[in-house]
Symmetry: C2
Subunit: 459 residues, 2 copies
């Protein structure tokens, strides 16, 4: 609260300074409030009017040859210059974990920023770092408000999304020994980036070694450093989990991308040695590429700092300014508004999904778990970002192929180190996208009963 | 020119749409022009008034405990809440290559952007890429206007500064063979990141192998892939150079960070297979972390795309929007204004530097070369971003230590793979920083003649 108040005073002071200057234009009494609000509303107006509420126009939208209209970028299955044509036979792609369901919140929130042409041109902030210390303070305040992570006496480091931090963490935790590279493992089904990124960088210091289960029963792991990736909640399933390897030489990277109240009950603040978070699953701003790590050990923190410096010389200062504004909006008032809205939407989506899928004998969803949530102060079930759909019938070995017959394209289970009886369906997209998915799933389940061909085929 | 005009029409269209809406507040006839200009001027006013023209306040400046004033971030050797105290005995740090000399240009240019809260929340653009195709078009137009690189029938890829692209290029050009990792080389004095980054990632696929000269006389290099880093102009010296290794299995990464008319004559458009550029040395926006590669070969392009995707999932879309605006301003009118201003400043700085150093027998600067510049359409000498200062006397083995006696801290030659008789001094900082540097160098040279102790010590 103090930081917020100070911030307000800061703006007031700027206004006083301006109003004592010779520039009378800027001293209308409502300078700060008026233009920002007006501009935000104008941007919203453009989108709403031009794109039939099934798409949006951006300032940097591609202007096609000969097209002098603002270029609408349409939601899936909508087309036309104003996104007004619905393509009923389209394939809805739910592979990508965009959080467009939060877009309406950001359209109404006063969350625009102005970046002046001379904003932070240099390499470093005034403390010679690549990180805004004000943003560090906001992140700490956020975790205190949410109660989802301990930040006292911890180091915080920024990355270009948690993606960049995944490998930075692997680097920092690995031992520098070419004889015995560190073994990187994860429990299937796991987020595929853990494998692809670790393999891609092809370092002498670490190697991806598959599923954790292959290694947990080896009694002596002291000769090799193990680095275990643990997503909690898991991606794809959305379950709260713990690490499996707890030997003296084992290290764990906790990926808490989804550890926010709109996706999971928060039983207690996470307190592990190395934790990763990302704005993409918090506010939904995946395009901004901003994540952070919370680290106990100073030596690990410093190694990760070196990684980020040599890789990209820190995170874009423009992005840091934007993240600051977004967190500022989140923390307004009691800091609960967005989470209440976001949870209500996710809860509603899961209720509808389960209602449909409960009628099916051929398909099932993962089980949702109830838990006491310290943020909402009551027991609630999880509302994961993804449906982990399973084809139950023996012959349906490739579940995504079955889904494609009704126009749904999900992520195949094998991508996550699981079998292809499973498919991940992202349910955090726009309302349009979710409605189309629901319609297609309804058709799919209805066919179990109504379509004689499908009954023959599937029984 | 066409893209610019289309853009203007685009904005006009937005205004018309807005003015036909119910929101009468926004339809004053000068909506677009008024608020943007006003806001930019206000931001400038804050800086000027609050920080005595020796510093600046940013929107995301750290608000210190108990300090309700806008927090000024002072230029080097200035302090106080309004940056009004000059610290005459301070050490001026000229190690970092910030281009604050361009800050006044961006303060007067109409270059602010507004990023709405809902701007590009998703992972990808409408074409499923992580790159704004409009920005690709602007970059091509920029190179055509400048005449400094061929972009027709080339692929363009973005990075978080050219820093990220350096390693992406090494990855893409290296052969995937653990038996014989590719050898990465550079000719000293070279930009230290070539070495530190290549060593840091410690890949099985490539290894830094020092100075190119050690390898150029080996007649048969066919069994090993060589990857040569060539900066042109070089960093630190600012010379136009070519690669040394031209065997059938040799590959070259051309780092053209400084290949802009404010730093070098442009003899002809660069036309190499793999070229890197960065906005940090073009517009001076190092903090935005934006660079690009121009690539001939599709397979190399695709490998670099994979690198950027697995490393950071592309470049921040906020940064791409800002880069778009900056290039849009650069290309206004005949696209020459900033370059003319920037060159005039650099030319003036070099004239003053050379005037002072020409009086010295103990110190010398690198030679500047004259060349026909196709951009300015006349012969001109180079105006590099860095002075490469040499201590000429035999006993002055560590030149930076000598400079420190008068309060100058530069980058030691050994950092660039050269000897410590050399020091790199960045001369692209703010006018304050340059004036302080000039004063201290004047003192240094004056001491050769006036100070009997120094004469005894140095002769």
């Amino acid at each position: 609260m103090m930081a917020k108040r100070r911030n307000e005073i800061h703006y007031v002071t700027i206004m006083i300074v301006l109003c004592s200057s010779s520039n009378s234009l800027v001293c209308g009494g409502e300078w700060e409030g008026t233009w920002r609000r007006r501009v935000a509303e104008e941007d919203e107006a453009v989108t709403t009017i031009a794109c039939s509420e099934h798409g949006r126009a951006y300032l940097d939208g591609l202007i096609l040859d000969g097209n002098i209209q603002p270029a609408c970028e349409c939601n899936q299955c909508y087309s036309g210059s104003h996104c007004s044509n619905f393509l009923s036979d389209c394939v809805v792609d739910v592979t990508r974990g965009n959080l467009y369901f939060l877009e309406p919140f950001w359209m109404q929130a006063k969350s625009a920023i102005l970046v002046s042409g001379w904003h932070r041109m240099g390499y470093s902030y005034s403390d010679d770092s690549y990180m805004s210390q004000l943003l560090v303070q906001y992140i700490k305040k956020l975790h205190i408000t949410l109660g989802n992570a301990i930040t006292e006496e911890r180091y915080i480091i920024f990355g270009s999304g948690s993606t960049q931090l995944l490998n930075a963490a692997v680097y920092a935790l690995s031992t520098n020994s070419s004889l015995s590279p560190s073994k990187v493992v994860a429990t299937a089904p796991y987020f595929p980036m853990y494998r692809t990124q670790t393999q891609f960088f092809n370092s002498k210091d670490y190697r991806f070694e598959g599923d954790t289960s292959s290694w947990k029963n080896i009694s002596d792991r002291s000769s090799t450093r193990f680095i275990e990736f643990v997503a909690s909640p898991t991606n794809p399933e959305g379950k709260l989990t713990d690490g499996v390897l707890h030997g003296p030489n084992d290290k764990t990277i906790y990926d808490h991308a989804y550890y926010w109240p709109h996706f999971t009950p928060i039983p207690s603040p996470a307190n592990e040695d190395l934790m990763l978070f990302t704005i993409s699953k918090l506010t939904g701003h995946a395009g901004s590429r901003f994540g952070w790590a919370i680290i106990k050990d100073e030596a690990i923190y410093k190694k990760m700092l070196t990684y980020i410096e040599l890789n990209t010389v820190g995170v874009s200062r423009d992005t840091q300014l934007r993240a600051l504004k977004l967190l500022n909006v989140l923390l307004e008032g009691d800091g609960r508004e967005m989470f209440q809205i976001a949870y209500a939407i996710m809860k509603n989506r899961w209720t509808r999904l389960e209602q449909i899928m409960s009628k099916s004998k051929h398909f099932s969803l993962q089980e949702l778990y109830p838990h006491y949530c310290t943020f909402f102060q009551r027991v609630r079930v999880s509302t994961p970002a993804h449906a982990w759909l399973k084809c139950e019938r023996q012959q349906d070995m490739n579940c995504n192929e079955i889904l494609k017959t009704v126009g749904i394209n999900g992520h195949e289970g094998s991508v996550f180190g699981a079998d292809n009886r499973h498919v991940r369906l992202s349910i955090t997209g726009s309302q349009d996208e979710f409605e189309i998915l629901i319609n297609k799933l309804t058709n799919l389940v209805a066919k179990e009963y109504m379509d004689p061909n499908l009954i023959n085929l599937h029984n």
